[in-house]
C-alpha cells in the first residue's frame, strides 16, 4: 500500500524503466553487429538479461531507503504480519520493473526480427517470470541490507538463483521462434517456480529483515 502510494507518486519511474529497456535492448546490436540471423538468435537472451538487470538495479533500493530513514523499523513494529508488507513491496517492485518489460516486448521483437508468435510467447513468459525475479530478489535485498558494496554483493547472491528462470524463459521463446509447438511444459515449469516463490519468499524475506535491522 505505502509503496503503491510512493510508486504512483512518481509515475515517471515507470517511464524511466521503459526507456532503460529500450536502451539496453538497442545497445546490443551496436556492440554485436546487426546481422539479422544473429539478432534473431540472441533476442530472447537479450530480453531476459535486460529483465534481470532492471530487476537487480532496482532491488538494491527495495529496502535500502526504508532502512536508512527508519521506516523499516516502524514497519516491523506495526501490528501487520511482516510478510504482507513484504508482498506489498515486492508487488510495487514488479510493477515498476517487470510489468513494463512485458509491454515493451513487441518492440524487442521488431528490433530483433522475431516472428509474431515468438513475441507473444515472450510476453507470456515475461509475465510469469518477472514476478519470480522480484520475489527471489527481495530475499537477497533483505539479506544485504546496509552492507557496503551491497549492490554488487546482491547480484552475486541473486544471479545464480535467477539463472533457472532465465534459462526456461529464454528457452521457451527460442522454442517458439524455431516453431516448436509444445510450449506447455515450459510454462508449467515457470508457473511452478512462481507458486513456490510466492509461498516461500515472503517468509524468508521477513526473517532476513529481522536479522538485518538489529
Amino acid at each position: 500500500m505505502r509503496d503503491l502510494t510512493l510508486a504512483m507518486r512518481r509515475r515517471t519511474d515507470v517511464l524511466t524503466t521503459l526507456f532503460f529497456f529500450i536502451i539496453v535492448v538497442s545497445l546490443f546490436p551496436l556492440g554485436a553487429g546487426t546481422e539479422k540471423m544473429i539478432l534473431m538468435k540472441i533476442a530472447p537472451g537479450v530480453a531476459w538479461v535486460a529483465a534481470l538487470l532492471a530487476s537487480m538495479l532496482a532491488l538494491e533500493r527495495l529496502f535500502a531507503s526504508d532502512f536508512a530513514d527508519g521506516t523499516l523499523e516502524q514497519m516491523l513494529l506495526t501490528p501487520q504480519p511482516i510478510f504482507i508488507l513484504v508482498l506489498g513491496k515486492v508487488f510495487a517492485h514488479w510493477l515498476l520493473t517487470g510489468l513494463p518489460l512485458v509491454f515493451i516486448a513487441p518492440l524487442v521483437g521488431l528490433q530483433y526480427y522475431l516472428p509474431d508468435e515468438a513475441v507473444s510467447t515472450m510476453m507470456l513468459a515475461l509475465l510469469i517470470g518477472t514476478p519470480i525475479l522480484s520475489l527471489v530478489g527481495a530475499i537477497g535485498a533483505a539479506l544485504t541490507l546496509g552492507l557496503r558494496g551491497g549492490g554488487i554483493l546482491l547480484s552475486l547472491l541473486i544471479l545464480p538463483l535467477y539463472i533457472p528462470i532465465m534459462v526456461y524463459g529464454a528457452g521457451v521463446v527460442s522454442a517458439s521462434a524455431t516453431g516448436t509447438t509444445d510450449l506447455q511444459a515450459y510454462f508449467s515449469i515457470l508457473s511452478g517456480f512462481l507458486i513456490l516463490a510466492l509461498v516461500l519468499s515472503p517468509i524468508a524475506t521477513a526473517a532476513a529483515l529481522r536479522i538485518s535491522v538489529e
Binding site: T5, L6, R9, S65, D69, E73, Q74, L77, Q80, E214
Partner: protein, 211 residues
C-alpha cells in the same frame, strides 16, 4: 504492565548491562538516564523487540513479548534517532500510511489537526525532504497524537525541537500518562517532567570499567 526481568544485553565485545530488572505500571513514566554510549538506545530497542537481548525476559501483562508478536507490537509506538518518515512523501501522506499500518482508524481531518497542533500548518502537503530538521521531527511526533497504543518508547524525542515544541511534547506526554499510558524515555536535555509517577533508571553507573 511491562516487566523486565534479568535483562542482559551486549553489543560487540562489551556487555552493556546485566541482570536489569524493573516494571512499569500504567500511568507511569520511566526515564532512562546515562551518559553517551551506555546502552540507553539498546535497551529501548530491546524493549520494543527490535533488538534481541542475550538473556532475560520482557513481559507484557505477564506474557512474553516475543510470543505475543503482533499482539504486543500493536501496543507499542517507538520513536528512535531516525524519524521514520519518507522523504519523498508529504507529512500528510506519511501519517496516513503510518496510521493505516498501525491499524488505527483515523480520519483525514484528524491528521490535518494533528499536523496543525504540531505547528506544521501550511506545510502539510510538502514533501518532508524540504522541511527543516525540527519540522521533520514534528511530523514524526505527530504520530503520537494519532496513536492508540499504550506504551510509548521515545529515544531522545526532544532533539531538534524549538522551545515551544518541547513544551508541547511535554504536555502531550503528561496527557498520555494521565490517561493511563506508559512512557519510556531518554533525553540528555533538561526537561521538566511533571507527569504521573516518574521512575528513573540510570545506566552505566556501577560498571564504569566497562564504559
Amino acid at each position: 504492565m511491562l516487566e523486565i526481568t534479568n535483562l542482559t544485553c551486549s553489543r560487540g565485545d562489551r556487555q552493556l548491562f546485566t541482570g536489569l530488572n524493573f516494571s512499569l505500571k500504567p500511568g507511569s513514566l520511566l526515564y532512562v538516564e546515562g551518559r553517551n554510549g551506555t546502552g540507553k538506545s539498546t535497551l529501548l530497542r530491546a524493549i520494543c523487540g527490535l533488538f534481541l537481548a542475550d538473556s532475560g525476559d520482557i513481559l507484557w501483562d505477564g506474557k512474553n513479548t516475543q510470543s505475543l508478536a503482533e499482539d504486543y507490537t500493536k501496543e507499542v509506538v517507538y520513536l528512535g534517532h531516525h524519524n521514520g518518515i519518507k522523504d519523498d512523501l508529504s507529512g500528510l501522506e506519511n501519517l496516513r500510511i503510518s496510521t493505516v499500518l498501525d491499524g488505527d482508524d483515523v480520519t483525514e481531518e484528524q491528521i490535518w489537526n494533528a499536523l496543525k497542533k504540531m505547528g506544521l500548518k501550511g506545510f502539510e502537503d510538502l514533501p518532508t525532504k524540504v522541511l527543516s530538521q525540527g519540522q521533520k521531527r514534528r511530523v514524526a511526533l505527530a504520530r503520537l497524537l494519532l496513536n492508540s497504543s499504550k506504551l510509548w518508547i521515545l529515544d531522545e524525542p526532544f532533539t531538534a525541537l524549538d522551545v515551544a515544541a518541547v513544551d508541547l511534547l511535554q504536555s502531550v506526554i503528561a496527557d498520555h500518562i494521565s490517561k493511563g499510558g506508559m512512557v519510556v524515555l531518554t533525553t540528555h536535555q533538561e526537561v521538566a517532567l511533571t507527569a504521573g509517577q516518574i521512575q528513573r533508571l540510570e545506566l552505566g553507573k556501577k560498571k564504569n570499567k566497562n564504559v
